[in-house]
Symmetry: C2
Subunit: 142 residues, 2 copies
């Protein structure tokens, strides 16, 4: 009747350190993002938009693995802050086009120093970070 519950131990899960690590690092971003008045999710959304200039909600969702239930309220907040505009596409009104404003572009200049600050306090060296990146991409099927 003695059963082994070893597989159920928290230390034997890969998912838990992934989940914990993700949240811990997002916490480390917070003081830097507070200076810009952005949350982490808003920050990665702006990253996609800074890179492309504009994108539909659908494209943002595919890139960030987020759905409209998360993005719609988040984008409305970014709009009310003046960082982006939201407008239906002329050619297909189902699509909502998100565009970075001048004010949103200005925020980019403040954001550009953040990756360096974060890299400096990482516990991994460059090779380890690269390997971690590779494994995560593989896990995501990329």
């Amino acid at each position: 009747m003695e059963e082994s519950y070893d597989a159920l131990r928290l230390e034997n899960q890969l998912c838990f350190p992934l989940y914990a690590c993700s949240r811990e690092i997002i916490k480390q971003y917070k003081p830097h993002l507070d200076e810009l008045g952005l949350t982490y999710t808003q920050y990665i959304t702006m990253m996609v938009l800074w890179e492309k200039g504009e994108a539909t909600v659908k494209e943002l969702g595919e890139r960030l693995y987020l759905d409209s239930g998360t993005l719609t309220p988040l984008l409305k907040k970014l709009e009310s802050r003046g960082c982006i505009t939201r407008a239906r596409s002329k050619t297909d009104e189902r699509n909502l086009m998100i565009t970075v404003t001048r004010e949103g572009e200005a925020l980019r200049e403040q954001a550009v120093s953040i990756p360096g600050k974060m890299a400096r306090c990482s516990r991994l060296n460059e090779a380890e970070a690269a390997e971690l990146y590779r494994l995560l991409q593989k896990m995501l099927g990329k």
Copy 2:
């Protein structure tokens, strides 16, 4: 005036794949956890409790990197489902002792098959999973 915003590209972040990967894997747990009526956070909480039999809210928080703002409502739900009991410690009333009930213990038998099911659909081989685990632990300062 030409500036490099390369560091701000989503592909150049370590945090984003970590965050995306964590959420994608938690989604893969969902159909299995639905059968037990547990959310992912409730599942890892039960994992700690199954292992120890009982723990204070503080101990759970340290182990799971969660605070009372998250744990208090979650534990009340687990209590109302009959999986755990919540009782103040006799020796120090500030501590709330969480104990697994017989019903909570029964859930463990259903949960024990989950890690195997999850491992089988992973895209990483055993060596890669071990290396990923090591890097995440190092990142967490463990």
